[in-house]
């Protein structure tokens, strides 16, 4: 085992245990924290894959911005700890089991199809190359994404803006 594999196992284990902890904690704040741990170790996995830019974006966007808002909302609403296990209905239970089986089949399929070659860059990808690709080959998807984001922004402002009262 080389250093890369050891790092992969460490990050993978942290990521998995964080993900399990998210659904196991009864306190929403702890769940949010566990999610941050998962995001962070995923950033580590991205660095192992030779994508430092994606890793930085992961930390900035998910761990740094979105999760802060999550925490913010949890604290503002002051959600308490779930005292008893909430009983999910029979229909939901069946749906959950169906999704779980589907997910397990996917996982087994991927595990058996996986080859030794991960198909990722050995050398870290330069941010400059990502930028060049974004503005040449993937220009249309990039612009469409930014338009969607802009639409979402305008939508939010329109939703929360209070009409000026005439008084």
């Amino acid at each position: 085992m080389n250093a890369e594999q050891i790092c992969f196992i460490i990050f993978g284990l942290i990521s998995l245990s964080g993900a399990i902890a998210v659904i196991c904690f009864r306190n929403p704040i702890y769940s949010a924290l566990a999610l941050i741990v998962t995001f962070f170790s995923q950033a580590g996995l991205f660095i192992l894959l030779g994508a430092p830019f994606v890793a930085a974006a992961q930390v900035i966007v998910y761990a740094g911005a979105i999760m802060v808002l999550f925490l913010f909302v949890i604290m503002l609403l002051n959600l308490g700890t779930l005292s008893t296990r909430t009983n999910i209905g029979g229909k939901m239970k069946g749906f959950a089991i169906f999704l779980g089986i589907l997910f397990a089949i996917e996982g087994i399929y991927i595990a058996f199809k996986a080859t030794g070659d991960s198909g990722v860059a050995r050398e870290p990808v330069e941010t400059k190359d990502i930028g060049k690709l974004l503005f040449s080959e993937y220009l249309l998807p990039f612009e469409v994404t930014s338009l969607i984001l802009l639409a979402a922004l305008i939508g939010i402002i329109a939703l929360v803006k209070r009409e000026k009262s005439n008084t």
């Binding site: 941050i36 930085a56 900035i60 802060v68 913010f72 604290m75």
Partner: protein
């Protein structure tokens, strides 16, 4: 990885980490002495020469104080929070180039722990994590003043992070690199080529945003003592409080170092850094960087005793209505002028200032026009009538 590289990296990490901690102690001493000087009083001057050993005495006191964990706190997070603030503050320094390079045994060793090609993104990513220490410490304290302080602080940090990120994009365009070493090296030896002149409005926006990110006056609403006792660290005592305290000063030091490498020419000063042999020049470049950072840190203390604290709405107005548009204008103008004038620094510098001026005028004009009308002052005859009624 060969042994020389490994050894030099370990040495650099040990030296930089200790310099940071010593820097924190010196900063605490300097803050108290400079504050004293600015208020025409003495400040701590009893322990050691000029009171220099005062921070050590304070540290020993903190360590030996009784560790008090109140009953009503959420214990795991309460214990974790100071570390969550201190660790990001400490590891940001890994990508800061604190000097040029030293040649030892025929090998060039860069005075920087890690020159990663996403350098400045790493800084932004790690500083954005600092907010967790504040928010979680506030929440875990289970105290309404702490929680209010934490919420204020997180709102402030999220708002000013945008300005922080946007204001450096112009700099990145000119250096066409994200590595802090490349950005510092690209600026050259002379002050009129440094980024703070080319991107003057962005420099001001960045510095202001950094004051907000480090929770320093005039933006220290999270711990406004008249309103919130001590804000998010009200319930903390002994070494845990000291960790919050250290993190604040460490953030200041690292922030100053990042500003120096982004805007103030890094280790350059009139070619002084090229004098001397391969070892001496490296040390001189480190000295130049050190002095620049120290001057910037002095500005931090200076501002603290110059500007009064912002009110909350003023803080949000400044961040969203002035700093953010100015930073955006800097991105647009730098991009356009870079293409039109083929990277002429003078044109970009002038264009940036003009654009920022126009943006501020427009925003200011809009604010004045949309200002809600003041409630009309009561007429004097009404007042007289009121007085008659109440006294009679």
């Amino acid at each position: 990885m060969d042994s020389v590289l490994l050894l030099s990296t370990i040495v650099k990490i040990v030296v930089v980490a200790h310099l940071l901690i010593i820097g924190v102690m010196v900063m605490i001493w300097a803050e108290r002495r400079v504050s004293g000087w600015m208020q025409d009083r003495l400040g701590p001057n009893r322990v050691g020469p000029q009171g220099l050993l005062q921070p050590i005495a304070d540290g020993i006191k903190f360590l030996f104080k009784e560790e008090l964990i109140p009953n009503h706190v959420d214990k795991p997070i309460y214990v974790l929070a100071p570390a969550l603030l201190l660790v990001p503050a400490m590891i940001t320094v890994a990508v800061v180039p604190f000097g040029n390079s030293i040649e030892i045994a025929g090998r060039e060793i860069f005075l920087q722990i890690a020159d990663i090609n996403i350098g400045i993104l790493y800084v932004l990513a790690i500083t954005s994590l600092g907010v967790y220490g504040v928010v979680l410490g506030a929440w875990a304290s289970n105290n309404k003043y702490s929680l209010l302080g934490g919420l204020r602080s997180s709102a402030q940090m999220i708002s000013y992070e945008l300005t922080l990120g946007l204001s450096i994009i112009g700099v990145l365009m000119l250096s066409s690199s994200l590595s802090l070493r490349d950005i510092a090296a690209e600026q050259g030896a002379y002050p009129w080529k440094w980024n703070f002149l080319i991107h003057f409005p962005a420099f001001l926006a960045f510095t202001t945003a950094m004051f907000a990110e480090t929770n320093r006056l005039p933006f220290d609403l999270a711990e406004a003592e008249q309103e919130l006792v001590a804000g998010y660290h009200t319930e903390y005592s002994s070494m845990k409080f000291a960790m919050f305290f250290m993190a604040e000063y460490m953030n200041m030091i690292v922030g100053s170092a990042v500003t120096v490498s982004l805007f103030l020419g890094g280790w350059h000063f009139f070619g002084l850094e090229n004098l001397g042999g391969p070892v001496l020049s490296g040390l001189i470049s480190f000295g130049i960087f050190f002095i620049k950072t120290a001057i910037f840190l002095f500005v931090f203390i200076w501002v603290r005793w110059t500007l009064p604290r912002f009110r909350y709405d003023g803080l949000m107005n400044l961040g969203w209505k002035f700093l953010l548009p100015v930073a955006l204008s800097s991105v647009v103008v730098t991009g356009i002028l870079w293409v039109i004038t083929n990277g002429n620094r003078l044109a970009i510098g002038i264009g940036n200032v003009v654009a920022a001026f126009i943006v501020i005028c427009i925003v200011g004009g809009l604010l004045v026009m949309n200002k809600p009308p003041e409630p009309a002052a009561p007429e004097i005859s009404d007042l007289n009538a009121l007085e008659r009624n109440t006294t009679g």
